[in-house]
C-alpha cells in the first residue's frame, strides 16, 4: 500500500481550532455569567428596589432624626414636660434611699440563701438525699427493711450541717429540719423584700411612663430613638421576598373560604407600612425628580384606611387588583399585560377597590365626604341606570314583591294541608278504639290549628310588607299614564326628539330617535294615557307662589335658571321652562301632593281601577294608603304615584300660588309648538308600543300596558370581572388594542372622556366603560344596521366627573375573589347604618340636612341663606343621640306633629323651609329610625331615663339660670307667642319632653358648636369648677353649697317646664308684652330677623 502523500496543508497540522474554542468558551462563559446575573438580578428586579430602599430610607431617617431631635428638645423644654420630669425626679429621689437599702438587703439575703442551699452537705444536697430515701422507703415492700431504712433516714436527718455564711462566719444547724427551716425563712424574707421593692418602684415607674408618653403624644413624628430603631432595622435588611398570605390561617385548598391570594407587593413597595410619612420627593435622589424607586417607596397615602383594613388580613390586590404573586417585572406585578385579566386600578379609579367588598353600602364612609365611588353608586340610581340594568341591591322592591307573593302562596297551601290533616285526625279520633288514642289524635289536630293561626299571622305580616313595598317602589321618571292630563300635547314629540335641547340638565337621556320613532312613541304614550277629568283650579298669586317656591325648600331638589345662572339641586327637574309643557290644574295637584294618582293600579288584574269598578261593589271612589285594597279582588293596590317627591303639606291656595308661578316659567308660549295631531292616529299605536318596548321606557316610567316588563339591559352586578374578551369592542377592537386614533369624534361626547381622547391602548374595562358611557352607541361605528338592531343605550349626557364615578363603580362591580366573610355585611348596628343610607339617598335628605360633617347641602349653597344660616334646616350630625327614637318615628310620619294644623313645621315653626311628609312605609320608617340611632351609636330600643322631680328650691335655682341675663334662653328659643316667635331661631322648650334625650341636652348646653358646627347657640355658658359644671354667669346666693352640675339642673327644669312657667319667666324677662310691641316691630328692619338680609 503506497502511502498516501501527506497533503501539504494538513488541516490537522496547519489549522488550529483554538479560535473556535476560545469563541465558544467566551460565549459559554458569557452565557454562564448572564445566567448567573439573570438568576440574581434579571429575574429579581425587586432586589434592586430593596438595595435602593436601604440606602434612600436610611438617609431619609438620618435627616428625620436630626429634625426629630430638635423638636424633641422643644417638647422636653415645655413646662408640662418639665413638671412631669420634676415629679419623676422628686419621686425617684424620695424613694431612692429605701430602694437602695432594699436592694442591699435583697443581695444579702440572696447570698445567705445561696450559702445554705449550695455545696456538699448543704440544703439542696441533703434534701435530695432525704427525698430519695423517702421514695426508697415508700417503694420497699418488706416491713422489716422499711423499718431499717426509716431508722437510717432519721439518723441522716439528725446529722448537723455547718454552713459558711456570707459574712465569713460558720453556722451550724443541729439537724436537717433546722436547716430546712432556716432556708425557708430566708426565702420568705426575700419574697417580702421583693414585694416592698416593687411597691417602692411602682410610683417611680409610673411617673417615668407619664413622662415618656407625654413625649410621644406631643411629637409630630416619631422620637429620635424610635427613628434610630427604624434605621437600625433598615440597615440590617437582607434582600428577601416580602409576602402576605391573605387568609393564611384558613389557607386550605379544599376549603371554599380560602382566598389563595399571595401578595408580594411589599417586596418593592417597602415603605407602605412604615410608621413615618414618606413622600416620593423625600425618597428622590438629591436634586432629581422622583424616579420609579421614589414613586414605589412612598408610604400608603391613607394610613387610616390601612388601620381598618390590616394588610396582614386583606393583602393588597383585593383592593388594588394586579398580579400580587408576580415578581419578575413591574408590568407583571401590576397586571398590565395581556395575560392578566384584572390590571391594577388606575389612581383615578382607586376607589373601585372599595366596591368589591362594600357593594352593599350606598354611602361608603359615614363620616367623610367626596368619595368617588359613592357618587357613582348614587348616579346609578339617580340617572335611572337600574331601570334597564339589574344590579344587586338596587330597586329591590319588585323582586321582593315576587318572592313574598311566592311565600304567601306556599303558606296558603300549607294552611290548606294543615286544615285537611286536622280534619283527618279528628275523624280518626272520633272512631278511635281507646280514649288515649282519641286524645292523642285530637291533640295533634289542635296543634295543627294553632300552627294555622301562626301561618295566618305570618301572612298578615307579609301583606303589610307587601304594602310597604308598594309604597317603597319608585320610578326615576314620571308616570306617563297621566300625560293627557299633565302635558301640552304638542310639546311631547319635541321633547322626545332630544330632551337636552329643552332641558340641558334633565335626567332623561337622548335616545337618538328618528322622526318615525318619535311620532310612533308619542302616539303610543298619548293614546295609552288616562282620560279622566282633573278638578279645575282658580288662578293663584304668582308672586306669592314664587316666594313660597324659594323659601319652602323646593330648591333643595329642583333647580331653576339656565347655564351659569342655575340655582338649586340636581336631584329633581330644572323648572325653568316648565310653563311650556305643563297643564296648570295638574301642576296644582302635583305641588299639593305629588303622590296623588289619577287611578289606582291593581297589579293582580294588571289594570288601572276606575270609579266604575268601585261603583260595581257599591264603594266610593276613594283610594289612599288607608284604602289600598282592590274593590274587585281585595289585593293590594298601588295607590300612589311612584315618585320620591314628598308632600309639603301646603294649603290648596298655596299650591295654586306655586303652580301659578311655575306656569309663568317659559321661554315661549305653549301655543307656539307645532301641531302634533298625528299622535291621535291609531295606526301608529302598535308601532309605538314596539319602540317603547325596544327602548325600555318602562324602566323609568310607568306606562299603561307595560307595567310588568322586565329590564332590557345586561345585569351589571359583576360586570367588572367579565373577561375583557367578552366586552364587545366591535370594530374598534384593533384600535383599542393598538391605541390608534380616538374613535369618538363628537365634541360633546369627547368632553365626557375623563382622561380625554385616548393616547394609549385602551383595550380594558376602564376603556370600555368610559367610551360606552361617553358615547353609548360607539360600538355601532362603521356598521350598517337597521334601526331595530342598533344599540339601544341612550346617551346620558354625563359630565367627565360623572363618567369617572360610574366607571369606578363598574370597575369595582366584581365577583369577590375573597372569602364571603370579607364582604362588608355586618349584622350589628352597622347593618342599620348600611341600610339607612339607601333610604337617605333615595329621598335626597342631604339636599337639606347635613348628615356628615363638612357635607354641603344644596340649601347652604343658596344666596338666600348665606347670611341667614339660622334659617337653614337643622344639621343631623347627632340626631340619634338627640331624640327619642319613638318620637322620631312619629315625627317622620307627620312632621307637623299635628293632625289638623298641618301647614307648618312641627318643631322649628320659625323656619320658612318646610320638612315635608314623605309618606314613608313602615319598612322605611323603621330603617330611618334605626339608622339615626346606629349612626350615633345609641342603644335600640331606647328606654328613657327617669327625670327627677325638682324641689321648690331647686326649681327656683334652675329658674334663675333659665332667665339669667347671662344666658337669656328665651331670647332665641320660641315660646309660642307669635310676636316673639317672629324673631326666634330655636325650638320651643315645651317640646323637649318626650323628644330630647337628657344626656344629649346636657352635652348640647356645654358645647353646641361641637354638635352642630355653626349653630346660633353659643358656647361657653358653663365652666368646669371643682369637677362640676357651673354656670359662667352670676348665680344667686341660693347656689352656695350646691355641688351638683348646673347643666343637669337646667336639663331637669326644662324637662318639667310647663306653659305657665314659661310664660311667667318670659314676662319677668321684660319681653312678654308681645301684643304691644309686635305691631311696631312688624315693619321694622329687625322684624325680618336674619333672613332676607342676603337679598
Amino acid at each position: 500500500m503506497p502511502e498516501k502523500p501527506i497533503p501539504e496543508k494538513d488541516p490537522i497540522v496547519t489549522k488550529s481550532l483554538a479560535p473556535h474554542y476560545v469563541v465558544s468558551m467566551v460565549i459559554l462563559m458569557a452565557t454562564l455569567f448572564w445566567a448567573l446575573w439573570d438568576e440574581d438580578f434579571g429575574q429579581r428586579p425587586w432586589k434592586t428596589f430593596q438595595h435602593e430602599w436601604k440606602s434612600r430610607y436610611s438617609a431619609f431617617l438620618k435627616t428625620a432624626r436630626t429634625e426629630s431631635a430638635e423638636s424633641q428638645k422643644e417638647v422636653e423644654n415645655s413646662p408640662d414636660y418639665q413638671k412631669l420630669k420634676e415629679d419623676y425626679e422628686a419621686a425617684s429621689k424620695d424613694a431612692e434611699p429605701r430602694i437602695n437599702e432594699l436592694r442591699e438587703k435583697l443581695r444579702e439575703v440572696g447570698a445567705k440563701i445561696l450559702a445554705v442551699q449550695d455545696g456538699p452537705g448543704h440544703f439542696t444536697d441533703r434534701r435530695a438525699y432525704v427525698t430519695a430515701a423517702t421514695y426508697d422507703i415508700e417503694t420497699t415492700s418488706s416491713p422489716s427493711s422499711k423499718q431499717s431504712k426509716q431508722r437510717d433516714l432519721e439518723a441522716y436527718k439528725a446529722k448537723p450541717s455547718t454552713v459558711e455564711m456570707p459574712d465569713g462566719k460558720a453556722q451550724t444547724f443541729k439537724n436537717f429540719d433546722e436547716l430546712e427551716e432556716a432556708y425557708n425563712e430566708f426565702k420568705n424574707e426575700r419574697t417580702q423584700l421583693s414585694t416592698e421593692l416593687g411597691e417602692m418602684l411602682k410610683p417611680v415607674t409610673e411617673k417615668k411612663e407619664l413622662m415618656d408618653s407625654y413625649l410621644t403624644d406631643h411629637m409630630v413624628s416619631l422620637t429620635a430613638s424610635q427613628l434610630l430603631n427604624l434605621q437600625n432595622s433598615v440597615e440590617s435588611l437582607t434582600p428577601a421576598i416580602r409576602q402576605i398570605n391573605v387568609n393564611e390561617h384558613a389557607a386550605n385548598l379544599e376549603r371554599e373560604d380560602s382566598a389563595q391570594i399571595v401578595d408580594r407587593c411589599e417586596s418593592c413597595h417597602l415603605g407602605i407600612r412604615e410608621p413615618v410619612n414618606i413622600t416620593a420627593a423625600a425618597m428622590s435622589l438629591p436634586g432629581k425628580k422622583p424616579d420609579e424607586y421614589a414613586q414605589a417607596f412612598t408610604s400608603h397615602p391613607s394610613p387610616d384606611l390601612l388601620k381598618i383594613h390590616d394588610p396582614e388580613k386583606f393583602g393588597c390586590s383585593p383592593c388594588h387588583q394586579g398580579n400580587g404573586r408576580a415578581t419578575t417585572s413591574v408590568e407583571k406585578a401590576h397586571g398590565t399585560y395581556e395575560h392578566w385579566l384584572w390590571p391594577i386600578f388606575r389612581p383615578e379609579n382607586y376607589e373601585a377597590g372599595c366596591q368589591i367588598c362594600h357593594s352593599a353600602d350606598m354611602v361608603l364612609v359615614s363620616n367623610d365626604v367626596g368619595w368617588v365611588v359613592s357618587e357613582g353608586k348614587d348616579l346609578f340610581r339617580q340617572r335611572g341606570c337600574m331601570g334597564c340594568h339589574r344590579y344587586e341591591g338596587y330597586d329591590k322592591e319588585p323582586e321582593d314583591l315576587l318572592s313574598i307573593g311566592q311565600e304567601i302562596k306556599l303558606l296558603e297551601q300549607e294552611k290548606k294541608d294543615n286544615l285537611k290533616q286536622a280534619d283527618d285526625f279528628m275523624a280518626q279520633a272520633d272512631k278511635a278504639a281507646t280514649n288515649e288514642e282519641a286524645n292523642r289524635l285530637n291533640d295533634r289536630a289542635v296543634a295543627l290549628k294553632v300552627e294555622n293561626s301562626k301561618v295566618d299571622l305570618r301572612i298578615m305580616q307579609l301583606d303589610r310588607t307587601t304594602k310597604s313595598l308598594f309604597q317603597d317602589m319608585k320610578k326615576v321618571g314620571p308616570n306617563l299614564k297621566d300625560v293627557r292630563l299633565k302635558l301640552n300635547k304638542n310639546w311631547i314629540p319635541v321633547w322626545l326628539n332630544k330632551p337636552t335641547d329643552f332641558r340641558p340638565t334633565t335626567k332623561m337621556p337622548n335616545f337618538r330617535l328618528n322622526d318615525e320613532q318619535v311620532k310612533a312613541i308619542s302616539a303610543y304614550v298619548w293614546q295609552s294615557g288616562l282620560t279622566d277629568a282633573l278638578p279645575k283650579h282658580k288662578p293663584g298669586n304668582a308672586a306669592h307662589g314664587q316666594e313660597l317656591f324659594e323659601t319652602r325648600g323646593c330648591l333643595a331638589c329642583h333647580s331653576i335658571g339656565e347655564g351659569d345662572q342655575i340655582q338649586g339641586g340636581t336631584f329633581a327637574a330644572n323648572l325653568t321652562r316648565v310653563g311650556e309643557k305643563a297643564n296648570y290644574d295638574y301642576l296644582v295637584r302635583w305641588v299639593h301632593n305629588a303622590r296623588e294618582r289619577t287611578r289606582p293600579y291593581c297589579p293582580y288584574e294588571k289594570k288601572d281601577i276606575g270609579p266604575e269598578d268601585y261603583q260595581k261593589k257599591g264603594l266610593p271612589f276613594v283610594f289612599d294608603l288607608d284604602h289600598s285594597k282592590c274593590p274587585n279582588d281585595g289585593h293590594e293596590l298601588q295607590v300612589q304615584n311612584m315618585t320620591v317627591m314628598p308632600s309639603l303639606r301646603l294649603s290648596e291656595t298655596d299650591a295654586e300660588d306655586i303652580a301659578s308661578y311655575l306656569i309663568t316659567l317659559k321661554k315661549k308660549n305653549p301655543s307656539e309648538y307645532a301641531d302634533a295631531s298625528f299622535m291621535d292616529d291609531p295606526n301608529l299605536k302598535e308601532e309605538g308600543k314596539r319602540w317603547v318596548r325596544f327602548f325600555g321606557c318602562f324602566g323609568c316610567h310607568e306606562i299603561s300596558g307595560l307595567e310588568d316588563e322586565g329590564r332590557i339591559g345586561t345585569e351589571l352586578t359583576t360586570e367588572g370581572s367579565k373577561p375583557v374578551e367578552r366586552l364587545d369592542f366591535a370594530l374598534l377592537t384593533e384600535v383599542a388594542q393598538r391605541g390608534g386614533k380616538e374613535p369618538i369624534t363628537d365634541p360633546e361626547d369627547l368632553a365626557r372622556l375623563p382622561e380625554g381622547p385616548a393616547k394609549e391602548p385602551w383595550y380594558d374595562h376602564k376603556g370600555f366603560f368610559e367610551h360606552k358611557l361617553a358615547e353609548p352607541n360607539i360600538w355601532d361605528l362603521g356598521k350598517i344596521k337597521p334601526p331595530a338592531e342598533q344599540m339601544r343605550m341612550p346617551n346620558l349626557h354625563l359630565t367627565k366627573e360623572q363618567v369617572r364615578a360610574l366607571t369606578t363603580f363598574l370597575l369595582g362591580s366584581q365577583e369577590n375573589p375573597l372569602p364571603p366573610s370579607y364582604q362588608y355585611r355586618p349584622l350589628d348596628y352597622r347593618k342599620d347604618i348600611q341600610e339607612g343610607w339607601w333610604v337617605v339617598k333615595k329621598y335626597n335628605c342631604m339636599g337639606c340636612h347635613q348628615l356628615i360633617p363638612g357635607q354641603k347641602t344644596i340649601l347652604m349653597g343658596l344666596a338666600r341663606y348665606r347670611d341667614a344660616q339660622e334659617q337653614l334646616p337643622p344639621k343631623l350630625l347627632t340626631e340619634g343621640a338627640r331624640v327619642d327614637p319613638q318620637w322620631l318615628l312619629g315625627f317622620l310620619k307627620n312632621p307637623a306633629l299635628n293632625d289638623k294644623d298641618t301647614n307648618r313645621n312641627g318643631i322649628r315653626t320659625y323656619l320658612q323651609v318646610r320638612m315635608p311628609t314623605f309618606s314613608f312605609s313602615e319598612n322605611e320608617l323603621g330603617k330611618l329610625v334605626r339608622f339615626f340611632q346606629a349612626l350615633s351609636r345609641q342603644p335600640f330600643p331606647y328606654i328613657p331615663e327617669e327625670v327627677p322631680v325638682l324641689t321648690a328650691k331647686e326649681t327656683e335655682m334652675a329658674r334663675s339660670l333659665f332667665s339669667s341675663t347671662a344666658a337669656p334662653c328665651l331670647k332665641c328659643h320660641a315660646t309660642g307667642d307669635p310676636g316673639h316667635d317672629r324673631t326666634a331661631t330655636a325650638p320651643n322648650f315645651l317640646q323637649a319632653r318626650g323628644r330630647l334625650k337628657p344626656d344629649w341636652m346636657e352635652q348640647w348646653m356645654l358645647d353646641p358648636q361641637a354638635i352642630s358646627p355653626g349653630t346660633s347657640m353659643p358656647s361657653g355658658l358653663f365652666k368646669r369648677q371643682n369637677n362640676h359644671w357651673v354656670f359662667s354667669g352670676p348665680t344667686p346666693p341660693s347656689f352656695q353649697g350646691y355641688d351638683k352640675d348646673h347643666t343637669r339642673l337646667l336639663v331637669d327644669y326644662i324637662l318639667q317646664l310647663t306653659p305657665e312657667e314659661q310664660r311667667r319667666v318670659a314676662a319677668s324677662m321684660g319681653r312678654a308684652s308681645a301684643r304691644s310691641s309686635s305691631g311696631s316691630r312688624a315693619g321694622s328692619a329687625s322684624g325680618q330677623g336674619g333672613h332676607g338680609a342676603g337679598k
Binding site: F33, D40, P286, P1018, S1077
Partner: protein
C-alpha cells in the same frame, strides 16, 4: 449576600461587561446621598428701611344720593339702649365710610411681624365698634362687652375656623385670633340679629378703614408697585395700581357707585 461576593470574585477575571454591569448594580447604595431637608420654620420678618418708606392716602367717594339710614328697632331687648341705624352704606357729603383699603398685591414674599398689641372690638349699645376692622393674620382680637346684656360673638368665616361664644355682661374680654387671610369675614350676634360687622384678616400691616370723611392713610410702605384694594361690604371691591418711589407720598382716590 454570599451569592454576591461569590459572583464578584468570579466576575472579576472574566472581563465580562455583563458582570461589571451586575457589579455596579450592587454598589449603588453607597452613592445615595441625603434627601433634601424640609424647609425650616416661619421666616423672620423682612426688614423695611424706614428712611425709604412711602405713604399712600386718599379719599373714598360715593357717587350718588346717600341712602337714608334705616332705624333699627331694638325693643326686642330692653337692655339695648340708645339709637341704632343700619350701617350698610354710610355716606355723608359724598364720602364713604367703612371701606377697607389694603395692599392686595406687590409685596412679594415679604413677611411682617405680627403686632403684639391686640385689636379691640367693642360691643356697646348693641352695636359693634368698629363696624369694619382690619387685623393681621395671627394678631389678637380683644372682644369686649360694654352692654348690660349678653351677646354672643359668632364669626362665620369661609377659610378660618367658625366659633360662637357667649359673652355675658361684665365678663372678661375674649381673646381670639384668625390664622388665615380672609377679607370681609362676617361677625354677628345671634341674639341681636341686626348686629353685624366685618373683620378683614390680612398678611401685611398695610391697611386702613375709611372714616366718616372717607379718608384713609397707609404709612411705612417700602418703595414698589402695588395693587390697592378697596372693599365695601355692599358695594364690592375695586382695585387700583400705584407705584411708590422712596419716601413718596401719593394720593389714590376711589369712587363707588350705588
Amino acid at each position: 449576600m454570599k451569592m454576591k461576593t461569590w459572583m464578584t470574585t468570579l466576575g472579576m477575571p472574566a472581563l465580562c461587561g455583563l458582570v461589571l454591569f451586575a457589579g455596579c448594580g450592587g454598589k449603588k447604595e453607597e452613592t445615595a446621598e441625603q434627601p433634601a431637608a424640609a424647609p425650616a420654620a416661619a421666616p423672620a420678618p423682612t426688614p423695611i428701611d424706614p428712611a425709604t418708606a412711602a405713604t399712600v392716602s386718599g379719599t373714598v367717594k360715593f357717587d350718588g344720593p346717600a341712602p337714608a339710614a334705616t332705624k333699627i328697632d331694638m325693643s326686642q331687648d330692653p337692655a339695648c339702649k340708645g339709637t341704632n341705624t343700619a350701617e350698610a352704606v354710610v355716606a355723608s357729603g359724598g364720602h364713604l365710610a367703612n371701606v377697607f383699603v389694603y395692599v392686595k398685591d406687590g409685596l412679594g414674599n415679604r413677611t411682617f411681624e405680627i403686632p403684639k398689641e391686640a385689636a379691640t372690638l367693642d360691643q356697646s349699645g348693641c352695636k359693634y365698634h368698629p363696624h369694619v376692622m382690619g387685623v393681621m393674620a395671627g394678631q389678637d382680637v380683644k372682644i369686649v362687652n360694654s352692654d348690660p346684656t349678653t351677646h354672643n360673638i359668632h364669626p362665620t368665616p369661609k377659610d378660618n375656623r367658625e366659633w360662637n361664644e357667649s359673652q355675658p355682661p361684665q365678663s372678661a374680654p375674649l381673646d381670639k385670633n384668625f390664622a388665615r387671610e380672609e377679607i370681609l369675614l362676617p361677625v354677628k350676634c345671634n341674639q341681636h340679629p341686626w348686629m353685624k360687622m366685618y373683620i378683614n384678616v390680612v398678611k401685611n400691616p398695610f391697611y386702613a378703614v375709611t372714616g366718616p370723611d372717607g379718608k384713609f392713610e397707609i404709612k411705612g410702605l417700602p418703595p414698589g408697585e402695588y395693587t390697592l384694594a378697596f372693599v365695601h361690604e355692599k358695594l364690592g371691591e375695586k382695585d387700583e395700581k400705584v407705584i411708590l418711589a422712596a419716601k413718596d407720598n401719593k394720593t389714590v382716590d376711589e369712587t363707588f357707585k350705588p
